[in-house]
C-alpha cells in the first residue's frame, strides 16, 4: 500500500481523537479533546501558551499515554499507523544535539528509514525523495552541510524536509512557522496547500492567526479542551477567540492583541 494514498474506507478518518485526556503526574493538560479530520484538509490548532497544543500532538503520536480516550490514525492504532509510515511529526523543538556528525542530506534521509530494509540502504527512489524534499524547502545547496551549521530557520526547514521525504498521509506540525522568514512562510504555506490537494491531512499549531485565515480549512480552538472546532469561516470568530484567549480578543488580521487590552 502506498503510504501517500492509503485507501480510506467510507467513514474512516485520517485523524480520529475521541475524548482524549492527558495528565502529567496528576496535573491535567488536556481534557476530553475530540477531533475528527478527513483526508485532504489543513486544520489549524490555536490556543494560548500552555493550552495543550503540543500535548495534543504528543498524544496523537503516542508519546504521552492518554489517561482516557482513544486515538486512531487512518483507522488504525497509532503505532500501527506509524509502522505504515502514515504519520510525519515535526515537534516544536527538535531537541537534538546540534554537534552530531550528520549532514543535512543524512537528516532528511532519516525520513526514508521506515520504508527501507533493515540495513537502511538507500535506493534510487529514496535518494530522489530526499532530493525532491530538499528542493521543496530550498535547502538543496545546503545538503552537504553538517546539521549544526544551519541557522535556526534553516534547521526547521531541514526537519520539514524530512517529514516531506517520509511521504506520510498525515502531517503533524507543531508551530512550523516559528522563527522562519516571510519568504519561507509563503513557500511553506504553498507547500501545505499542495499537500492538501494530494489528499493528505495536515494539523498545524500556530500563534499567527492570519495563517489560519489564509489557508486552514478547519480550525480547532483549544484551552485544556477543545472549545470549538469546525470550518474556519464559522468557528474563527472574535467571540470564540476571546473565549480561547481568556478574555482578550486578538485582532484577527494581524494576530496581535490590541495594545489597550494590556493596560487594563
Amino acid at each position: 500500500m502506498d503510504a501517500l494514498n492509503p485507501q480510506l474506507g467510507n467513514g474512516t478518518y485520517r485523524i480520529e481523537a475521541d475524548q482524549v485526556c492527558v495528565d502529567y503526574n496528576g496535573t491535567v493538560a488536556l481534557f476530553d479533546a475530540s477531533l475528527r479530520l478527513k483526508g485532504g484538509c489543513i486544520c489549524g490548532l490555536v490556543g494560548m501558551n500552555g493550552a495543550g497544543k503540543s500535548t495534543f500532538f504528543k498524544a496523537l503520536m503516542g508519546f504521552v499515554r492518554p489517561s482516557r480516550g482513544n486515538i486512531r490514525i487512518n483507522g488504525l492504532e497509532v503505532h500501527k499507523a506509524q509502522r505504515d509510515q502514515a504519520v510525519a511529526y515535526v515537534p516544536q523543538n527538535e531537541g537534538i544535539d546540534c554537534s552530531f556528525p550528520v549532514r543535512v542530506w543524512d537528516v532528511v534521509m532519516m525520513g526514508r528509514y521506515g520504508s527501507m530494509n533493515l540495513l537502511r540502504i538507500p535506493r534510487e527512489s529514496d535518494r530522489k525523495a530526499v532530493w525532491h524534499a530538499l528542493e521543496r524547502v530550498e535547502l538543496i545547496e545546503y545538503r552537504k552541510r553538517p546539521i549544526g551549521e544551519l541557522s535556526g530557520g534553516q534547521r526547521k526547514r531541514a526537519f520539514l524536509a524530512r517529514a516531506i521525504a517520509q511521504r506520510a498521509s498525515v502531517l503533524l506540525l507543531d508551530e512550523p512557522f516559528s522563527g522562519v522568514d516571510v519568504r519561507t512562510e509563503k513557500l511553506m504555506s504553498e507547500l501545505f496547500i499542495q499537500f492538501k490537494n494530494e489528499g493528505r491531512t495536515i494539523l498545524i499549531s500556530t500563534h499567527d492567526l492570519s495563517h489560519v485565515r489564509d489557508f486552514c480549512d478547519l480550525v480547532v480552538l483549544i484551552n485544556k479542551t477543545v472549545l470549538a472546532y469546525g470550518e474556519t469561516s464559522k468557528i474563527f470568530t472574535t467571540e470564540n477567540l476571546t473565549m480561547t484567549f481568556g478574555g482578550m480578543p486578538p485582532d484577527l488580521l494581524s494576530g496581535q492583541t490590541p495594545p489597550e487590552e494590556f493596560s487594563t
Binding site: Q82, A88, P101, D106
Partner: protein, 289 residues
C-alpha cells in the same frame, strides 16, 4: 657493527615479537577488541553514555567471579550483571528522587565492591589482577575463543543496526514516529555495551575498559563531521593503538593495559591539538582572507 644496527631496526622491532606464540595471540586479541570497542565508542560518545560505560564495565565484575565459580563461560555472568546493573539504575532512578549520575555511581561501586568481596570469599584460581588490569599476554585459548565469539556478536549486531542506532542517538523522537522500537534499541545498545566490556576486560581490564569505550569515539569525533567516517576512524585508531600498545609493552616491559590506553590517550591529544577543523591549533586555518 652492522650486526648491532640491524638488531634494532624498526623492521625487527615489529617482527621479532611475532616469533612468540603468546605475542601473536595478544596482538590478534587486542586488535580485535580494539576494533569492536572502537565501533561501539562512536555510539557511546554520541549518546553521552561515558558514565554508563564506566558503570557497566565495573558492574560486570561480580558476574565474572560467579561465572568462574560455577564453571560457566565468564562472558555469560558478565553479561547478566552488566544488563542487571543498568536495569537497577533505571529502576532506582524512576522510583526515587536521586539524580541519575548519583544513581549510576552508587550502583556501579556497589556491584564492583560485591565483586571484590566475592573474589576474596570464593576460593578459586581467579587472578584478581587479571580481571582488574587485563593480561593480553597471558590469554588462554578458551579466552580467545570467547573473545572472538563476543566480538563477532557485537560487530554483526552493530553493523546490522548501525543506522537505527545512529538515528536513536540523534533523534529518538523521530525514530519512534516512524515506528522503530526505541525501547528495544536502548536495551540492544546496553547489551552490546556489556558484551564489549567483557571483551575489553581481556586486554585492558575492568578499570581501564571505559577508555576503550569512549576515547576512540571522542578522537574520531574531533576529526570528522560524517558518521560513517567517524566509525572508520574510531575503529582504525582503536585497533592501531591496541597493537602499538602491546608492542610497547613487550619491548619496554610495562603493563599492557596501561600502555594501550596511554597510546589511545596520546592519539586523542594529537587530534585535540591538530585536528583540521576542531583542533585547538587548527593547522588548516580557515581565517585566511
Amino acid at each position: 657493527m652492522i650486526h648491532i644496527f640491524t638488531s634494532i631496526t624498526p623492521a625487527s622491532w615489529l617482527i621479532e615479537p611475532l616469533s612468540h606464540d603468546f605475542m601473536r595471540r595478544a596482538l590478534m586479541v587486542s586488535a580485535l577488541v580494539g576494533a569492536v570497542c572502537g565501533l561501539l565508542s562512536c555510539f557511546m560518545t554520541l549518546k553521552g553514555w561515558a558514565l554508563m560505560g564506566d558503570a557497566v564495565s565495573h558492574a560486570v565484575m561480580p558476574g565474572v567471579v560467579v561465572a568462574y565459580a560455577l564453571g560457566l563461560p565468564f562472558s555469560i555472568g558478565a553479561f547478566v550483571f552488566g544488563v542487571g546493573s543498568v536495569a537497577l539504575i533505571g529502576f532506582i532512578k524512576q522510583k526515587s528522587r536521586v539524580k541519575e549520575d548519583t544513581v549510576i555511581g552508587l550502583v556501579f561501586t556497589g556491584f564492583f565492591a560485591l565483586g571484590l568481596v566475592l573474589v576474596s570469599k570464593i576460593k578459586s584460581n581467579i587472578d584478581l589482577m587479571h580481571i582488574l588490569f587485563g593480561s593480553p599476554l597471558g590469554t588462554s585459548l578458551s579466552d580467545i575463543h570467547q573473545t572472538i565469539t563476543i566480538s563477532a556478536i557485537v560487530v554483526i549486531t552493530l553493523l546490522i543496526f548501525r543506522r537505527d542506532l545512529m538515528l536513536y542517538c540523534f533523534d529518538p523522537t523521530h525514530a519512534r514516529s516512524i515506528g522503530i522500537n526505541t525501547g528495544l534499541l536502548h536495551y540492544l545498545l546496553l547489551s552490546m555495551l556489556s558484551l564489549a566490556a567483557v571483551a575489553g576486560l581481556q586486554t585492558v581490564g575492568i578499570i581501564l575498559v571505559v577508555s576503550m569505550l569512549i576515547t576512540p569515539g571522542a578522537t574520531a569525533y574531533l576529526l570528522t563531521d560524517r558518521f560513517d567516517r567517524m566509525n572508520i576512524l574510531a575503529v582504525t585508531s582503536s585497533a592501531i593503538s591496541s597493537i602499538v600498545g602491546v608492542y610497547i609493552s613487550y619491548w619496554s616491559d610495562i603493563e599492557t593495559g596501561g600502555s594501550i590506553v596511554l597510546v589511545q590517550t596520546l592519539i586523542f591529544l594529537l587530534a585535540f591539538l591538530f585536528a583540521p577543523r576542531y583542533g585547538i591549533l587548527k593547522l588548516q586555518n580557515s581565517i585566511n582572507p
